[in-house]
Symmetry: C2
Subunit: 358 residues, 2 copies
Amino acid sequence: MVVLGSTGSIGVNVLNIAKRFDLQIEALIAGNNVELLNRQIELFNPKYVGVADKSLADLVCHKNVFYGNEGIVEVINLSASDLVVNALVGFLGLKPTMEAIKCGKRVALANKESLVAAGKFVDVSKIVPIDSEHFALWYLQNGREIEKMTITASGGPFRNTPLDRLKDVKPKDALKHPNWSMGDKISIDSATMTNKLFEILEAKWLFKTEKVDALIENKSVIHALIDFKDGSTTAHFARADMKLPIAYALLGDKFGERILPNIDILKIAELSFEKIDEQRYPIWSFKDEILNDSDKGVVINAANEVGVERFLSNEIGFLDIFDIVKSAFYKFKDIKVDLFEDVFEIDKEVRKYSKRVK
Amino acid sequence: MVVLGSTGSIGVNVLNIAKRFDLQIEALIAGNNVELLNRQIELFNPKYVGVADKSLADLVCHKNVFYGNEGIVEVINLSASDLVVNALVGFLGLKPTMEAIKCGKRVALANKESLVAAGKFVDVSKIVPIDSEHFALWYLQNGREIEKMTITASGGPFRNTPLDRLKDVKPKDALKHPNWSMGDKISIDSATMTNKLFEILEAKWLFKTEKVDALIENKSVIHALIDFKDGSTTAHFARADMKLPIAYALLGDKFGERILPNIDILKIAELSFEKIDEQRYPIWSFKDEILNDSDKGVVINAANEVGVERFLSNEIGFLDIFDIVKSAFYKFKDIKVDLFEDVFEIDKEVRKYSKRVK
């Protein structure tokens, strides 16, 4: 397989599973962590490797080094693998997703932005999501008629922070996720609930339904629930560990081995369920609109990526991330995405705008 | 279909579903509630009816009235229906279960005692359980390898009663179940946790596994959980209403209509999970032994039926029910059930013994 984003938290877990089940790695694409990439090269002996830019390429111990976004596309085209794992972060993951599908490959997709920004152009029959929530929904489907899908949110690090103190929280606070260890971008998206908004939009495309919602279950033990039309509701419980969805994405159904220990429900002892509060997570007020008019996904995503970057570089405050998204949302409220190429145009414009807000 | 126990709480729900889906009723067997039986006869126009004994038969408005246990067996043999709903209470339900299977019929089984007393002789391929917990387990199966099955208990009306006051509780207290409206016998079995012990033993026979346990979820929202070997756990949530398992038992899978409203998980807000405490529910100390050596099912059942009767008639106290069961359990601890007929012999002996205890 080809692994895009091999040195990130998903990438590392993907390689753990690959090692355990003796899966061949044809290509490894990393960002800036050359040190870890070199160790992965030694362990997996890939045919192709890639890094973020040319200056890093010389530091990579391999004879076939590609770089930049063009390098990723090149590697996908050169590779013989049937499966591409896309664990890239952000909008730059979209092109590789589309390229892999164009080449007839399946995509194990951890890159949320592909579906958020351009879901209507993606052939989801080629996609297996790497995500606890979508995996859980997939696992719970049983052929019976579905009334509603619900995914869970942990509420992030600021679930109990007094509302008037949110304006002062710093990147280091926002990066301390209570239940999951994840990369920086997704940790911030988790703190703002943008991550969950994106997952709802992904679910719309993956499962072809707009009857999807989210709630807070703060222990991250339940990842999703399905209401069936008969009156049954089922839920998927598992430890907060990406190895389970990764194993299914890489190995398909019924590999028949233990991936995680089961949760101990008696140790968990108590679970609580809460509405997502729009005061604390103002992005949630866009939920219905973005489910109805998903062309706005590219706008919210671009503005959010800029907002998160600006927050992580201490240029703006935590609450300003949403203000940027809101400003862009209304600025571009009449946007229509007709062609796939439009997505890149709009993304560029929204970024330009979002960098200037405030 | 043939409905045994038509005037009980399960029977009434069965007829509700039959009415809604326009299912034909060939026979109605009731106990002593002739008034309700007569109304059911008017509504469903069955070919055969039955009551508990001869003295009641004259009060039944029907030309084909049978009575007693022999009457039940006769009706099963006469009937052309493919399905027998067995919602009889107690050991007397065993013979009709076996007779129906012998006649090549399927049995929708609410009578727990059939499997508890004689599970090893019952062809479970002919059985569909009418029970929220076993229905939930059945619903959650997905073809993947199972590690463990767990059913839930509400804890009954005495879940929070101080232990030193249990000896003084009266039948009227024990009959007040917090979450379910059920018949007297099963309500008492619920208060002592005997009902859950029986359900675990039933699950052993139905699902051919000894990896089955129970825990307390006091809202009766979750009815069962399955731990899968991969590390996933799934749970079945539904309102505490027997119509759902009944609809599946009568109509088979995928009838595609709403039976119950889905639970509202946000209204439920909190769930808790507790171990079953052997001090409060001493019957639970027999769990492992009865799963290992299920021949003892007939002993526990017979002693329990006598104990519950004696308690309901105010002859003994609540805690004495278990003392009778325990006394019989050790008295008959070396019992072996080799032939189906032995079950009836042992049942008789244990009852004789249990009536004399104390």
